[in-house]
Subunit: 293 residues, 2 copies
């Protein structure tokens, strides 16, 4: 099966990036200033219409937590989004809440600076970390992978006629390998299906394989299900909880997102991420505002 790495490599003639040495790793890097304090720079490369992608932001915070906690793999991460982030400098302040044998829990806040240089909190996170490689390998998953056509029958922004629906507004699209199921692309042709679904193949444009931190990005990197529900406006995330259940195998992952409860100006997005070995490696749910378009 074609992998993101091989597809990207053949497209650009370059060697796929490796975990630890890739665009995603460089743009989510954090520098420890002192214990519990990390400096970082939020990249403009992971924005859409000027807004920093929520999953990218969560991955940056997740990296600081991995550097702070005794365990390095996120198991369950809960994030409340407070104010809109923008590209530029940021500081992450972390605390160890509980240091356990197989799981530890931490809290982290990312701040940016206002015109007077005061810290303004963008996101606050509670997370429990563990060691994914220490988990027993009994798997009794009854969930089934999503039915997504083969990658060569799916479509990305680069396949859209002309400039596509988001001309000039989507730097993040250049950093992702994203091929969507045409059954969830009606919105791009002005014919939303009316079903709250979005799914497709996901990877990173430079061919880097997925890892637990990039899964935090993957669950929030597809277009909003709201587009297929006929709502074309902004759908800001209020809260996002991600469970990382397995270290993903190499190659692209399949992401399937479902909305079943659009009501009262809010909606939920349930995301599942399946790796090339057929494992359900991540599950998430976010609560988002469905602002009238």
């Amino acid at each position: 099966m074609a992998t993101a790495a091989s597809l990207s490599a053949s497209a650009s003639g370059t060697v796929p990036a490796r975990i630890g040495d890739s665009e995603f790793d460089r743009d989510t890097a954090v520098v420890r200033r002192e214990p519990g304090v990390h400096d970082t720079e939020l990249s403009a490369g992971w924005t859409i219409f000027g807004a920093v992608n929520g999953g990218y932001l969560l991955a940056v915070v997740g990296r600081a937590l991995a550097d702070t906690l005794p365990h390095s793999d996120p198991f369950t991460v809960s994030a409340h989004y407070l104010t809109a982030s923008r590209p530029g400098p940021a500081v992450i302040r972390t605390d160890v809440v509980r240091d356990g044998r197989s799981l530890s829990t931490g809290q982290a806040s990312l701040f940016q600076y206002d015109d007077e240089g005061r810290e303004v909190e963008r996101i606050r996170v509670l997370a429990s970390y563990g060691d994914l490689d220490a988990l027993p390998d009994d798997v009794r998953t009854t969930a089934e992978p999503p039915a997504i056509p083969p990658v060569e029958h799916c479509f990305g922004a680069e396949d859209a006629p002309g400039e596509g629906p988001v001309p000039g507004g989507s730097p993040i699209a250049e950093r992702l390998f994203l091929k969507l199921d045409p059954a969830t692309l009606g919105w791009a042709l002005g014919q939303p299906s009316g079903k709250g679904e979005m799914r497709g193949w996901f990877g990173l444009a430079d061919g880097r394989d997925a890892d637990p931190l990039s899964l935090l990005l993957a669950v929030d990197a597809l277009p909003p299900t709201a587009f297929e529900l006929g709502l074309m406006g902004w759908v800001p995330t209020v809260e996002l909880t991600v469970h990382i259940r397995c270290r993903p195998a190499p190659g692209p992952v399949r992401v399937s997102i479902t909305t079943r409860n659009l009501a009262g100006g809010f909606l939920e997005e349930d995301a599942e991420v399946w790796d090339s070995a057929g494992r359900l490696v991540a599950q998430s749910r976010q609560l988002a505002r469905a602002l009238k378009s």
Copy 2:
């Protein structure tokens, strides 16, 4: 349709309790010692085999947050369970993280005391609150209520022959009105279905109607889906996120819980709560440890 209130009332000959003056309200009461600090007593009445129910614990913390934040209804609540609570005194420390126009965010920790009187953190919560009554009433929910038989064809602990599967170990069962779908009761007869499902009718034994805080209890008050998967041991919650989407109508609610990803010693439980008006009033997901029985 029979309501919890009318069934309880006819069974006991008493008037159903009201929201604000009920067993649940008394046992989740918090007393403000000073801004940001509330004292409480965790009741032995909401335990099973000595363990304080996680949803009850979350409701206690939720009440302190409602007293602290400018908005009084939980919208999305994320909780990480740190150490096991026990009946007895506790203190809740809350902070306002963000004070917004339609949503505000807070953080809360509940502590109990060790033998030296030092505070030991039991649970840490991040939550965003709003005003459920201010939401527009457009409802485009596509989810369907669970197919649960009428309440008179469902079964509770009081219907079990003899002492039932949890003799003397379940004070919480006396405080709940819980009638389970017989299709999810195979475990009680030594014949677990093998399907990660648990569902039934839920209310409070004294007839008090549901409200946003009691929904935090409802999502964690049914027997574990693990029982139907043949795992009869303890299934401790690591993390629980609840979305409250609507103020519930009077009467019993239907709770449906599903597990689809039992793997590596962990499982997720997805709960939905539907009110008597057919609204999907709450959705939650928890990550729990599936310890070998």
